[in-house]
């Protein structure tokens, strides 16, 4: 019996102790006629580890390697071998939420270090132990802003059109049930940025928060100081959505404008998490100290034990569902513990200079890629704004068709903006530190062929 250790002798000994004749007797409280459907005839017979591994290896092989320039919220980066060698140690991999603090000091200290790393990277006071991903993290941030902004009575939040559309739709799916409305701030179609001018139409209106994405979905860098100051001047909180790699180079949200952002969220995947079809990733979440009691999710604090020795424990649990039930800040229960552990190891290994170097290569390679591609007739940058590690290019032909033809050559040449922005000739391309000069040339040559 796979993963079940009992011998026939064990089973009889246990049944004897219980005073039952057969295992089936233990289910005598379930009405008999309800059991009829559970013969599970449609399920396959079980197989051994060898056979299932072979099946899955064949399928993994089928999604054969392609040269990818896809970004859009998930990015290819080098992951040091030590990250997952350590994160998948059984002591981390098979532990549960650290409710028994004395027997969970390993996980608890990792989370405390993680909170510190995220706070330092974002320039904020405090961070929680992570949420599911960047997009659902934004939904949590929006709900948090509604609670935290005592001056506003509004259930509306301003969201830039240039925000990752997948963040927008997940956020909307989560918050709309509480009658929260997300109003859209348009972007400048020349520069690809969210301009402070476009916010003037909302002046004097009651919104709980303004969401600022840096960089935005187009890879464009926003004038975050102006946007943050505008929001604060109009009684709104600032929710920053940021890429963690970029923060090695860019002003941290804690320093945006005169006051800094109030809540920061983002997708943690670039910090040592494999692409893995979209998950498990983790969302990081940080805020100003004064809002900490409105933050959802697990939070770890440093304290002492009864002998005065340093120790770590779950704290501020009165915010959480297992204590507050219907009055909790969120229904979130677990965090993304293992992914967060991996990211903690990644950030420790890569260090401040290493992360700056990774970010620098991402930026430089993307610039280089854009130069190579725009050297092709009819290919142009769509926007004038400076970018971090993604850029929108317009093609002389329909983007979806071009991308499909590139895919036939095993080149995933970016994401089409046709469906989300009605820009049928536009693609969003990304390069990171993993791309070589040869990779960039291969893409350029293939695109030239396809367009010819």
């Amino acid at each position: 019996m796979p993963y079940i250790p009992h011998t026939p002798d064990d089973v009889s000994a246990m049944l004897d102790a219980i005073g039952a004749e057969r295992i089936e007797d233990l289910f005598d409280e379930i009405p008999a006629h309800l059991k009829a459907g559970s013969s599970l005839d449609a399920l396959p017979e079980g197989r051994g580890e060898m056979e299932v591994t072979r099946l899955m290896a064949e399928r993994a092989e089928q999604d054969r390697y392609a040269l990818s320039f896809l970004g859009g919220g998930a990015y290819q980066h080098h992951i040091p071998a030590a990250v997952w060698e350590i994160a998948t140690r059984g002591e981390f991999y098979t532990a549960y939420t650290p409710y028994q603090a004395e027997a969970s000091q390993g996980t608890l200290q990792v989370i405390y270090e993680y909170q510190t790393l995220i706070a330092r990277l974002t320039g904020m006071d405090v961070a929680n132990a992570s949420v599911y991903d960047g997009a659902s993290g934004l939904a949590e941030a929006v709900l948090m802003a509604l609670r935290a902004n005592r001056k506003s009575k509004s259930n509306r939040v301003l969201v830039p059109e240039a925000l990752n559309p997948r963040y927008r739709s997940a956020c909307d799916a989560i918050v709309r049930n509480q009658d929260v409305a997300l109003d859209t701030v348009p972007f400048c179609t020349d520069c690809g940025q969210t301009l402070a001018d476009s916010l003037n139409q909302y002046e004097g209106q009651d919104y709980a928060a303004l969401v600022i994405s840096q960089p935005n979905y187009f890879g464009s860098l926003e004038d975050v100081d102006a946007l943050a100051d505008w929001a604060h001047a109009n009684g709104m909180l600032v929710i920053a959505v940021v890429n963690p790699t970029s923060l090695a180079l860019l002003t941290p949200p804690g320093e945006w404008g005169a006051e800094g952002a109030d809540i920061v969220v983002g997708e943690g995947q670039p910090l040592g998490i494999p692409l893995s079809s979209g998950g498990p990733y983790f969302g990081f979440m940080a805020c100003k100290q004064k809002h900490v009691r409105q933050m959802p999710g697990r939070i770890i604090g440093r304290t002492v034990d009864l002998e005065g020795k340093q120790g770590f424990t779950l704290t501020l649990q009165a915010r959480e569902q297992h204590i507050r039930r219907s009055k909790a800040t969120s229904n979130i229960c677990t965090n993304q513990g293992l992914a967060m552990t991996a990211a903690t190891i990644y950030m420790s290994l890569i260090g401040p200079d290493g992360l700056a170097s990774v970010a620098g290569h991402c930026h430089a390679n993307t610039q280089k890629l854009a130069d190579k591609l725009t050297a092709i007739d009819g290919v142009e940058r769509a926007f004038t704004a400076p970018t971090f590690h993604e850029v929108v290019l317009t093609l002389p032909q329909d983007a979806d068709t071009v991308l499909a033809r590139l895919a036939e050559k095993d080149i995933l040449g970016g994401l089409s903006l046709a469906k989300d922005y009605g820009m049928s000739n536009a693609v969003l391309v990304n390069a990171t530190e993993i791309h070589t000069e040869g990779d960039l040339d291969l893409f350029a040559t293939a695109l030239k062929d396809v367009l010819a």
């Binding site: 246990m14 991999y93 599911y132 860098l221 860019l250 677990t334 992914a339 895919a407």
Partner: protein, 489 residues
Amino acid sequence: MNETKLIFQHSRPGRGANAQAPKPVSEDQLSAIPASLRRQHKPGLPEVSELDVVRHYTNLSSKNFAIDKQFYPLGSCTMKYNPRGANRAAMLPGFLARHPLAPASHSQGYMACLYDLQNFLKEVTGMKGVSLAPMAGAQGEFAGVAMIRAYHDARNDDGRTEILIPEAAHGTNPATAVMCGYKVREVPVGKGGDVDLEALKEACGPQTAGLMMTNPSTCGVFERQIEAIAKTVHDAGGLLYYDGANLNAILGKVRPGDMGFDVIHMNLHKTFATPHGGGGPGAGPVGVSQRLLPYLPTPMAGLDEESGEYSWIDTDTLPTSIGHLSAFMGNAGVLLRAYFYAMVLGREGMIRVGEYSTLAANYLLKRLQQVGYTAAYPERRASHEFILTLAKEAKELNVTAMDVAKRLLDYNQHAPTTYFPLLVPECLLIEPTETESKEAMDDFIAAMEAILHEAKTDPDMVKEAPFTQPVRRLDDVKAARELDLTWSE
């Protein structure tokens, strides 16, 4: 064990794991980024060597209890063995490298696994459709209640403002109902652990959107009146939500779909043996009855039978869906681990899960009663878990459930769930799972017996425990009053 320094305390300016990062780029190459947007000072990440990092986190890992090290009978959490083979399969390079937005042409292998898993879960639960999108149990709950709301909204049945929840329910249930814009009304549970049916009948009405419940309940017993409950809620026009937290108990025995549930979520990190990872990631797929099919969260894997090709079912093909709950498609890597587990167990393995987890729990309960502990529901069969109440010990010996839990750590046994469900005083909720041997359970029983003896003869040993862990009991009051959430030098 000694205090472990923080990683920041190992930091020395100029040190680094130099094999990992590429060489720095020149300032020239960054000239396109306006100076006004540039960070002025380095982020305070530690500057440490690769060995520093490996040693530090390896040492930290040794301060955890884990299934790989200890019996971990945490009730309602299903801490069963997490097969290593599942981890290796999910970490195959082809799966790890796949970008979530890669075209279907480059995703057929991955989608085949998802499609098969959807069908597997459908059959196991007796539901009509399954979406794997929710990223955790709590998000599965959210998806489920959001679908209930979408269903009522589509019928313009907008007077339904309440979700009913038995008082023994997990805290996530009421918190979820509120996130979906509902008011919560609690339904009492009777002495035997079943829902108070008369009270439920009174609570049901035109304002009822649905009922959320777990079966077996968090009291560790099967809800015997489930059909009457389903009828009561359905007659009032409400829908029935199944919290799959305790699905392990009934796998292969009785299916939520056959009990009358309209929507369920499953915790793959419990029932399908994916790791808990120190608190996630999980996965919380949802299954639905016919009438909720249009509202399933996206994306889902679909199969064109003719061409044999897989494609995504997304909001463009299913516009009534409650939509995406994450940026991409949920916790893919967890789904692959669950798929591995499902394929190894197969039909007969699924049936064995329910049988042997129930056998283990009933054995453990009987033996713990024999050594002197009190069952909360002595006249009932245990499901895959059961509750002891230490009300008597607390009163007579001044030794609480928490004290016993802490003392267990000294016996190298992880503590059961304490003080949940809230309606049983001084309770321990104990779930051994099907993967623990009789010897492992006997060791736990011996430890429990010894602790009961200590409670009578040397109560301070129990009240001041643990003695053998990296730290003694922690000052939680100080932690909350003098918040220290980040390190500063």
